[in-house]
Symmetry: C3
Subunit: 636 residues, 3 copies
C-alpha cells in the first residue's frame, strides 16, 4: 500500500504556505494544527522563487525550519516540487518557456502556471529544482509524500509543442498515409505531404478538424505525463520508500487523461471543486469521489484539495452552511478517500487567491469556521478503523475522456453535454442509493453486473470489443444515445452507428433528430426525452418503450433491449429526463439503501451514513440528525 509515510489514520490537513508569513506565525500554525488534529500538510507548492531566488542560488533555510517544526509537531509533510510556477527570473531569461495561446499570444508571468510544458529549458529547470529538493529532503523525517507540480492542465500551442506533437504523431501513426487516413485528410484539403506541415490546432479561419484536436489533447496529456515522470524518477531515486503523487484537476479544458496517468502515480490525488451551490454540490462531490476511486482501481486515493468554507460558482463564491464542510469531506471518505485535505490551511493575506477560503480564516481561530475544523478533526480518528474496508459495487459507468474532449470541439450531430449525461446517470442512481464505479471504455469490466455507457460518443474498436465481450459473458450493458457515434479517430461508425455493435444491440440507428430547445417528447409510460432523439430500426431487439408522438418518431422504439450471449444490451435512443432514467433503473432493479439526499455506503462491515437533508432520518436502527453523518456497522 502506498501511503503517506508515517501518517496514521485518515489524512487531515491542507495546503500550507508558511513562506507567505513571518516565522512567528509558524508556531501558531503548528499549535492550531495540533488542536485540529491535522496530520498532513502540503508544503512548497509554488515556492520556487523562494527556494531559488536567483539562478543557481538556493535558499532552503526557511524550508528546513518549517519541516523541522512540523516534524516536532507530529505533522507529516506532503512536499511539493515547485515547478507549477517558475520564478520571474526564469521566464524572463527563457521567454520561449512561456506558454502560447492558440492565437499565438505568448503569456507572461504574473500568475501561476506560466510555463510551456514542452519547452526544453523549462523541462531542464524542472528536473534541476526537483533534484535539489529531492537531495535535501528525501531523508527528512517529516517527509510523508512527494507532491509533484500542481494541477497539470495548462496547454500550450507553441513551436515547442508542435515539434513534440509531430514526434508523438510519428510514434503513433508511423506513416503520413496512416495519419492522413485517420484524420480524414481529404476533407478541406488537409492532406499532409510532410510531417513539418502539421501544426498545433491554432487559430484558423473556420471549423477545425476534430481528429486533429483530439490527438492534440491526447498528446498534451502525454507531454504533461512526461514532465511528471521525469520528476517522479528523480524523487524515487532519492528515496524509494516515499510515495509520489500529483493532484489531478478536473474539467473539459484539462488535457489530462487520468486513466493513462493512474499507473504512473503511487496514489491518486484529486482536487474536488463542485461549482454549483445547490444539491448538485453533493452530487458532483460523490461523482468526483467515485471517479477518483475508480482511477485508483479501487485502491488508494486521497482528496487532496477542496474549498474549506465556500463553493466557487460562475457568479462568485457561496458559503457552505454549517456542517457542509464535514459532509462534503465524508462524501469522499465514505467513497474511499483516505482522508480530507483542503485548500488551504491559512487564508492568504494577499495575492490572487487571498479570498479563497481556509481552515484558519482571516479572522483567526476564534471563528465558527475553525471550530468546525477542530470538531471534524477530532471526529476523524473515531473512524480510522474503516480505512481498510473497500468500496464494492457491481454497477459501473463508463468514463471516456476522449468523449468529453471530442464533444467539446463542437459541430455535433445534436446538442450533447457529455459530462452532464454521465452526471445524470450517476445522480439518479445515487438518489436510489446505488453506488457505482467508473471504468474506462477499454478497461476491465469483469466483476460488474451492469455497465452504463452514457453518450459515449467516442468508442474505439477495442472498446467496442470490450463491450461485446462483457455482454456476451453475461453482463448487462445499458448504452444511451450517441454512444459509438465515432471511433478513436473521430470517424463515424457507418451503417447504423453504435460503434458497429448493431448486432449486439439488435438495432440500427439511422438518423439523429435534434429538436428545437425546450421541446419535450413523451415516451409511453416512461417520462419524456429532451433535446434530441434517434431514429431506431429494430434488428432483433425488443422495444421497451416507444415515443408517444412526434414527426418520424411516433410509435418508434425509444428504449430497446436485446439478449446477446449470456447477457443483454439495452439502448436508450434519446436524452431522457431524470424521471425516465429512474423508471428505467426500477425496471433494471437497481436500488440500494438510502438515496434521496441520504448517502448510505456499505463497506464490508462498516456502514457510512450522511444525511444531507434538513430533516432527521433513520437508516436501519440508526437515527441521523439533519446535516449529520455517522459510521455504524453494516446490518447483516
Amino acid at each position: 500500500m502506498h501511503w503517506p509515510k508515517g501518517v496514521e489514520g485518515l489524512c487531515y490537513g491542507g495546503d500550507y504556505n508558511p513562506e507567505q508569513w513571518p516565522e512567528e506565525v509558524w508556531d501558531d500554525d503548528v499549535a492550531l494544527m495540533r488542536e485540529a488534529g491535522v496530520n498532513l500538510v502540503s508544503v512548497g507548492v509554488f515556492s520556487w522563487a523562494r527556494l531559488e531566488p536567483r539562478p543557481g542560488e538556493y535558499d532552503f533555510g526557511w524550508l528546513d525550519r518549517v519541516m523541522d517544526k512540523l516534524h516536532s509537531g507530529g505533522i507529516g509533510v506532503n512536499l511539493a516540487t515547485p515547478t507549477a510556477s517558475p520564478p520571474p527570473w526564469f521566464t524572463l531569461a527563457h521567454p520561449d518557456a512561456l506558454n502560447t495561446r492558440p492565437d499565438g499570444v505568448r503569456q507572461v508571468h504574473g500568475s501561476r502556471d506560466t510555463y510551456d510544458i514542452c519547452a526544453p529549458a523549462y523541462r531542464e529547470a524542472s528536473r534541476s529544482i526537483a533534484a535539489k529538493v529531492a537531495e535535501r529532503y528525501a531523508g527528512h523525517p517529516a517527509l510523508a509524500m512527494w507532491h509533484v507540480h500542481n494541477e497539470y492542465g495548462s496547454a500550450t500551442f507553441s513551436a515547442h509543442a508542435e515539434t513534440n506533437f509531430r514526434a508523438w504523431l510519428q510514434q503513433k501513426y508511423s506513416t503520413l498515409e496512416a495519419l492522413n487516413a485517420a484524420w480524414w485528410g481529404s476533407f478541406w484539403s488537409q492532406h499532409y505531404s510532410d510531417w513539418d506541415q502539421i501544426l498545433a490546432p491554432r487559430a484558423t479561419q473556420y471549423l477545425a478538424n476534430p481528429a486533429h484536436e483530439l490527438d492534440f489533447k491526447r498528446f498534451t496529456s502525454d507531454a504533461m505525463l512526461g514532465h511528471f515522470i521525469e520528476q517522479r524518477d528523480i524523487l524515487r531515486a532519492a528515496n524509494p520508500e516515499v510515495p509520489i503523487t500529483t493532484n489531478l484537476v478536473f474539467g473539459q479544458w484539462v488535457p489530462v487523461d487520468p486513466w493513462r496517468w493512474a499507473s504512473e502515480v503511487d496514489l491518486i490525488a484529486f482536487d474536488s471543486y463542485p461549482g454549483d451551490p445547490g444539491e448538485r454540490a453533493e452530487q458532483i462531490s460523490a461523482l468526483h469521489a467515485d471517479l477518483s476511486r475508480s482511477w485508483a482501481g479501487g485502491g488508494d486515493w486521497l482528496l487532496m484539495e477542496q474549498n474549506a468554507a465556500e463553493i466557487s460558482t460562475p457568479y462568485g463564491p457561496v458559503s457552505k452552511t454549517p456542517g457542509r464542510m464535514a459532509r462534503h469531506s465524508m462524501i469522499h471518505i465514505s467513497r474511499g478517500s483516505k482522508g480530507a485535505m483542503y485548500f488551504q490551511w491559512r487564508a492568504g493575506r494577499g495575492g490572487a487567491e487571498q479570498w479563497h477560503s481556509a481552515l484558519v480564516p482571516h479572522a483567526g481561530k476564534n471563528t465558527r469556521m475553525f471550530r468546525e475544523v477542530v470538531d471534524f478533526g477530532q471526529a476523524l480518528p473515531s473512524i480510522a478503523h474503516t480505512i481498510e474496508s473497500p468500496v464494492k459495487t457491481d454497477t459501473a459507468i463508463l468514463w471516456s475522456p476522449d468523449s468529453w474532449w471530442a464533444t467539446g470541439i463542437g459541430h455535433l450531430p445534436a446538442p450533447i453535454d457529455y459530462f452532464e449525461d454521465v452526471a445524470q446517470i450517476h445522480r439518479v442512481l445515487r438518489d436510489r442509493g446505488v453506488v457505482v464505479d467508473f471504468v474506462s471504455p477499454e478497461g476491465d469490466l469483469s466483476g460488474y453486473r451492469t455497465v452504463f455507457a452514457p453518450s459515449t460518443y467516442v468508442l474505439s474498436r477495442a472498446a467496442a470489443e470490450n463491450l461485446r465481450w462483457f455482454t456476451a459473458g453475461g453482463g448487462r450493458l445499458v448504452a444511451s444515445s450517441l454512444t459509438g457515434a465515432v471511433d478513436e479517430h473521430c470517424q463515424v461508425w457507418l451503417d447504423g452507428y453504435l460503434g458497429g455493435l448493431t448486432d449486439l444491440f439488435g438495432i440500427r440507428v439511422t438518423e439523429h433528430l435534434p429538436q428545437p430547445p425546450g421541446e419535450l417528447r413523451a415516451l409511453w409510460n416512461f417520462g419524456a426525452a429532451e433535446k434530441f432523439c434517434e431514429l431506431v430500426e429494430l434488428r432483433g431487439a425488443q422495444c421497451v418503450t416507444q415515443y408517444a408522438a412526434g414527426d418520424l418518431i411516433e410509435n418508434q422504439p425509444a428504449v430497446t433491449v436485446n439478449p446477446f450471449g449470456e447477457g443483454e444490451a439495452w439502448y436508450v435512443s434519446c436524452k431522457l429526463v431524470d424521471e425516465a432514467w429512474d423508471r428505467l433503473f426500477e425496471a433494471l432493479e437497481l436500488q440500494g439503501p438510502g438515496g434521496q439526499g441520504v448517502d448510505v455506503i456499505d463497506r464490508g462491515q462498516w456502514r457510512f451514513i450522511i444525511n444531507h437533508t434538513t430533516a432527521e432520518t433513520q437508516i436501519g436502527h440508526v437515527i441521523i440528525p439533519a446535516g449529520s453523518w455517522a459510521v455504524d456497522k453494516t446490518p447483516q
Copy 2:
C-alpha cells in the same frame, strides 16, 4: 442561355467528394445517384491537396476515373477549381498567403479558407492550379459547368490587403483630398497626408470610421471578384462553351456585393442556409430564392447548396421534418431555380463537417432520408416542362449591400436590423401571396408598379435620382424609416435626411427618436411601431396615419403619402410591427393568391403550389395535402 452543358431538365444533386472515400464506394455512389435521379454533382471543391500533393506534382488519376464513372452514369459534373483551400505545403511555404485577422493574428491552416485573397503567391498559385484543371478537363464529356472556388467571403487585413486597398482607393478617389473629404477625415484627426498612411480597418482604440469600413468591404468584394475573374478567364479560354459560376454565400459578414458580381458569372449560384427552425426557415428560403433570381436579372440561377436534412441554428442542428426537404427545394424551384442541389451527396466520415447532413446518410441507403431523396428525384422530371416559364411580378424591394454593411458597423441613430427590415416586408407580402423581385438601389426600376425601400440607410446620389425618376414616371415608392440617412460615403444627408428627396416625399425627417427596448407606440387604426420613430414635418405630403401617443410624437405623422409626377411616394417613419405592414399593404391593394403558409407562384401557364401548413388546403380547384406541393395550370 447559360446552362450546365448536357444536363436535361431540372438539376438535382449535390457536392460530391469521392476523394474522401475508397474507390469501391464510387460505384455504389453512381448507382445510388441514378436511383435518385441525380444528374449533376459538384466535384473537386477543396481537392487541391489531392490534385497537387506536392508543389508541381500533380495527381489527376483519381479525378479522371471519377469523371469517367460519372459520365458513364449519365451524370454531369460541376467541376470546381480547388482554390478555397490551399494545401498545407503551400501555406507553409508562403506564410504571407494566410489571412490576417483585424487584430493582426495570422491564421494557420487546419480548416478551410486559409488564404489571403490579396497575397500575390496565392493568386499565382490559384491561376496555376486552375489552368491545370482547365487544361485536363475542359474537353471532358462529363463536364457540365465550372465551379470556381467556393463561397467567397473570407476577408483579410494583411499588408497585402493594405497595399491593394490603397491602389483601389487611388483608382476610386484619384486624390487624397477627395478621399479625406469622402471619409470626413477631419473628425478625430484622421486626415491623411500620404496614401501610405491608410491602413485596413484593423484593431484600434475605439470606434472606427464608417466610410473607411464601408470602402474596405467594397474593396474586399472587388478583390475577391478579381480572383474569380482571373480563374474564369483561364477556364473560358480552355472551352468557351462551358458555363462558369461560383456559389454565393450570404451573411452580413460576407464582403461580396452580388450586384457587382452578377455580370461576371454565367449563372448565379446560391447556397441557402436559413438559420431558424420555425416557419422562418420557409420565409428566408423564399427570400433567398427571390434574391438569387433578382441578382440573375430574372435569368438563370441555381440553388447550389442547401442542408439536406437539417437546419443549422445558433444552438445546433434541428431536423427537417418529413417532406420539408422537398418543400424547401420547391420554394427555390418555384421561384426560378433551375434545380435543387445540396450539400452534400454522402455524409462525411471524418473532418469538421462530418455531421453535416447529406442525401446519403451515414446509415446508408436504407433510411427514410434516402427514400425521400429518391421520391423527390423521381418527381422532378414531371415538372421539367416549367423551366422556361419566367417568374414575373410588378412589385420589388430594394436590396442594398451597402446598407447591410454600413448598419453592421454600429453606432447608429437607432436600433436597426437592416436584413430583418427587408425580410419583414418580404415575409408579410408573402403571407399575402405577393411575389417580389429585389432590385439594386441603382438598378433598373422600370416595369415595376411598386418599389419598397426598407430602411435603406445608405442611399447614393445615383440611387436617389433613380427613385426620383421611378416615382415621377408613375411608380409607387414606399420607403421606411432611416432610408437615405447617409450617402455613398456614409455622410449624413442634411436638412431632413431621406437621401435629399424631401420634395419627393413631401416631408422632412427632423429627428430620430429611439425608444427603450420593448416599448410599443400605437398608430391610429394601424397597429403599432417598435424600437424607434422619426419626427416628421409635413411639407406637402398627406398624413395616412398618426401616432396615437408618445412624447413629441402624439398626433404626429407616422405614415405619409405624397403625389409626385405621375406617381406617389409613401413614407413609413417607424419600425412597424407585422400587422401594421399588413394593414398598409391592404391599403396599397397588394394581394396575390395563396399566402398564410401556402406558396402559390404563377409562372405563365404554370402554377406552383406548396402547402407548408399541417392542414390540407385548396387553391382554386387543386387540393394539396398538408406538407405537399403540386404544379398545375394557372387559372385563366
Copy 3:
C-alpha cells in the same frame, strides 16, 4: 477664482468642430450660437492633423479665422491642445507610440486615442504641438480657457509603460523587498529578484495579482497626469491668466484618480454620460454633479460634456423626452456646475460619431431640438445671480477610486459592485431630499456630521486613522459591508477586517457569507439584505437590528452602532435593499426638502427646484409644472 476668461454668467455651449465644415457654415454657426445664448465653445479637440498636416508643417490659418469669428460674435473659446489623436503621419513614423493591449496587440490609428501615453516620441510631439498652439493663441482675445487633451483614460501595456512603471515603483517602494512584501510576492512564486522582472499586468495564464493590478492603475493615472502637467506648464507659461482644465471621463476602466488630479487643474471639468434611460439617468447625473463638486473641493467646476438629445445605453441610444435636456443641465447647475456644456454643437456629417446628438441637429435649426436649446439658453441668464452661492451639506459619502479599481479585478469575497453600492446610498438619500458631498477616504472630514463609507473595500492605514479621528471628534460614521477588507496594498486586514477599526465599530467581522443569487435575507423591522451578509461578533457595539433567519446568521447582528469618543460608528454588515437603507436614514434623521423625483437644492438664499415627475408639484409656495424647473428664494 478660476473661470473662463471673459465669460459672463453661466457657461453655455459645447464642442465645436468647424474644421469639419466648409467656411460658409461658420457664419451660420456664430449666428445660431448667438441666437441660443452660447457663450463658450470647445475648439480644436482632435484637430492635430489639420493643424500640422505634415511633420513640422503647420496650418493655423483656419483656426485663426475661427477664433476671430467667435470673438466677433462674443463667444469665448475653450481651446484644446489636440493631443488626444495624433495624425496618421505621426503614428506611422512612430509605431512604438501606439498603445498596446494586454495581449500584446499594438493598435493602429483609425479611431481616436491612438497613442501610448508613455512613449517618449508621443510625449515629445505632445509638448511640441502644445507649445505651438500656446505660442499662437495665448494672447488671442477669444481665448477663455485651455482644454488640455481629451478624456484621459486609454491605458497601454507596452514596453514603454513597463519601463516607466518600474521607475514609478522604485520611487514608491525604494527596495524590491518592500515591493515583494507589499505585493505578497511569495504567493504563486511571484517574488522578484530584479526590477527588470516586473511587467505590466499583461495577458497571463490565470488570475493576476491584485496589488500588481492596483499599482498599475495608480501608475497609469500618474503617467497621464504627467502628460497633462507637461502641457499645462507650457500653456501657463504662455499666459498665466488663462485657466487650464481637462475634461474627466468616468468609468471603472478609466485609470484616473480625480482626487490626485484635482490640485493640478484650475477647474474641474466633467463629462457626464449616464447610461440608463430610466430615472437612473437623473440619479446618476446628480451623483456625477456631486462628485465633480467634491473633486473641486466645493469650488469651481463645469459640466463640460453631456449628450444633448439622447442617452447612450448598452443597447443603443434612447431619446431624451422634451425638457429632459434642460432638467439634466439643471441637475448639474443646481449642484454647483458653472454652466452646461454639451457634446456637441453641430451634429457631424461623417465619422464614427456622426450620430452623436447635438445642439444643432442634422436637420438644422428648424427643429424642436434647436428650439429647446434656444429656450434653455435664453433662460440661463435669469439665474446667473446664483453662481456665487455654494452648495453646503453636512453629509458626505466616501469615494474611493482604489476600491472601485480593486473590486474590478475580480476574485472577491462576495459579489460586490462598488459603484452601485455608492450610487445606492446617494440615490436613497436623494429620494429623501438629502444633498451630499463626496470625500476621499483620506480627505478632510471636518465639517461633516455624517460620513458614509459604502463598501469601501480598500482602506489604507491613513484612511483608517482618518475615520477614527472623525468619529472620535464627534462624527457619525456609517460603514457598510466589506469596508476595510483590504489595505492600500490589497492585503487583508486580519483579525476582524474593518480596516483594523474593530474597536471603533465595537465589532469583529469573522466571516463573509455570500448567498446564491436572488435570495433575500430578512432583517427584523428593517427590510432585507441581498447577495451576502457578514458574520459579526459584538465587541461592545449595540445591535440595531438582526437577521430574522438564515444559516449561521439567524438572530445575529445585521446593523450595529458603537459610541466612540464624541461620536458613534454604525456598521451595516450586508448589502441592504433600498427600502432598508431608507429605514436606516430615517433612524439617522436624514431628511431634506423635496426628494421622490423632485430635486430641491438650497444654496444660501437660492432654492433650485427641478420636477422630474410627470405631475405638477408644490414645494413651499412654489408650484412647478411636470418636467419643469425653477429657482426661487430659499424659505427662511
